[in-house]
């Protein structure tokens, strides 16, 4: 069996140890200690001076023969450009500008949404509607809970769609009154009411029944004109208040309702 001591690196001899101590002291900035060590070692080991000089020369040769490096800049830039291309200062400025514009746009849009929500709070809430989620959650529980959840559910309040000049209904009281008067359901005893009751009894309105009048949303109903070539010209009229009245008449054939290029059969 091999003795473990044989696998250890060879020990430094005493002169080499002294040489290294002197060089360490010099490297650590202790010249006085180094000088003292040199004096002691020179007295005790005659060959110390020569060995110290040889070691210093060996180490010094490393500092004096540093090889000059070729210029690697172009090759490095080529390698870097493949992995992460540099951008020119002009391009960088453009990127910064576009980022600033996008950020400003985001801030402006956010502010606009906030203002709209603040000014028209009804657009934000769900008009008192209770979602169906409560009922879904209650599935599987007792009947009383499900019933109470169903009772809690309320339908969405119908809101007029914000199209055209719909605020005329609220702002212009004359228009509102005229509209309500003309579109109010007929009393049960009147002739119109009886006709309506008959329509309901016979299965609903037919195409030949006149449609209930409705109000144009144009703020200037007088300007609403019927074009001379309009094929629907005989089917309705618009009064001074802008209310459209559909005239009762025989239902036209579907092909005649709108002009078409299709050849007639």
């Amino acid at each position: 069996m091999k003795h473990p001591a044989f696998s250890l690196p060879p020990m430094e001899d005493s002169v080499d140890r002294l040489v290294n101590e002197v060089m360490d002291a010099e490297a650590e900035g202790r010249p006085a200690a180094a000088l003292e060590l040199v004096r002691t070692a020179t007295r005790s080991h005659p060959g110390f001076g020569a060995r110290l000089a040889a070691t210093r020369a060996a180490v010094r040769s490393m500092r004096h023969s540093i090889p000059a490096s070729p210029d690697h800049r172009s090759h490095v830039h080529m390698g870097v450009d493949v992995l992460r291309p540099y951008v020119s200062p002009r391009h960088r400025r453009q990127i910064s500008m576009s980022r600033a514009v996008i950020a400003a746009g985001v801030v402006f849009t956010g502010s606009l949404v906030a203002v709209v929500h603040w000014a028209w709070p009804q657009a934000r809430d769900s008009h008192g509607a209770r979602p169906i989620a409560g009922v879904v959650d209650a599935i599987g529980s007792d009947t009383a809970t499900i019933t109470s959840k169903l009772k809690d559910m309320t339908p969405v309040n119908p809101m007029p769609l914000p199209l055209g000049a719909s605020d005329m209904y609220d702002n212009d009281q004359a228009v509102r009154a005229a509209y309500l008067a003309r579109t109010a359901p007929a009393p049960v005893g009147s002739s119109t009411g009886r006709a309506a009751a008959q329509r309901v009894a016979s299965g609903g309105p037919t195409i030949s029944d006149p449609l209930p009048p409705f109000l144009l949303l144009s703020p200037a109903p007088g300007n609403a004109s019927i074009r001379p070539g309009d094929p629907l010209a005989g089917l309705y009229r618009i009064d001074a208040d802008g209310v459209i009245h559909f005239l009762p008449q025989v239902a036209p054939a579907p092909d005649n309702l709108l002009p078409t290029d299709r050849p007639s059969k």
Partner: protein, 207 residues
């Protein structure tokens, strides 16, 4: 320029290069390419290998500048990356024999002396110091080069290799002694060769 101002300038260059400024990256390469090249050339003994490693190290550094921690020295980081690239290159070039496989499975350190020493004789540098250095083990060579050529302090070398300072000193002492012996042997061999050549020339002149 004093040390702190130099460091501030370097930090400025690093920040600018990380932001994509080509000129700052250029300046960083110019400042450090000499020292990294000398370090890798001393480790490998081959100028072509050293050039490849230096380029690879700089490409890695410049593409990862955003990861650099400014609390550390840039040169230390650069040398670490260059050294890792060198060891990887050694691993790639090294022919794997069965005994090497056994060593790698038993967890023994890979000797990065590689077969570069034995191949392509005429591409080797004829520098005597380099030849003497190549007789040292990789650890000794690295520590000798960092301490005596790049003037790194012992504590920094210990930190770099994650070994105790005593171990660094031990490698340094043995490396110095070995380097001195190798240089002496080389000088003797060169003298012998020269004497032989002179003798041959004299014989030719007499004849």
């Amino acid at each position: 320029m004093d040390k702190s101002r130099e460091q501030k300038h370097e930090q400025k260059l690093i920040r600018a290069a990380a932001a994509g400024d080509r000129d700052s990256a250029d300046e960083l390469i110019r400042l450090h390419q000499g020292s990294v090249y000398a370090y890798i050339l001393r480790l490998s003994g081959r100028p072509d290998v050293a050039e490849d490693i230096v380029q690879e190290a700089f490409v890695r550094v410049l593409t990862n500048l955003n990861r650099f921690d400014p609390h550390y020295r840039f040169s230390t980081w650069l040398f670490t990356i260059a050294r890792r690239a060198f060891l990887n290159a050694c691993e790639k070039r090294r022919p794997i024999s069965d005994s090497d496989r056994v060593e790698s499975t038993t967890g023994r350190a890979v000797n990065a002396n590689t077969d570069w020493d034995t191949q392509d004789e005429h591409t080797h540098t004829r520098d005597t110091v380099q030849q003497a250095l190549m007789t040292l083990s990789l650890e000794q060579r690295e520590i000798i080069v960092l301490f005596h050529q790049h003037e790194w302090p012992i504590w920094l070398i210990a930190e770099q290799f994650k070994i105790p300072q005593g171990t660094v000193k031990s490698h340094l002492h043995r490396g110095r002694t070995r380097l001195r012996e190798a240089l002496r042997e080389l000088a003797l061999r060169q003298n012998l060769t020269r004497e032989t050549q002179v003798a041959a020339t004299m014989r030719g002149v007499r004849a």
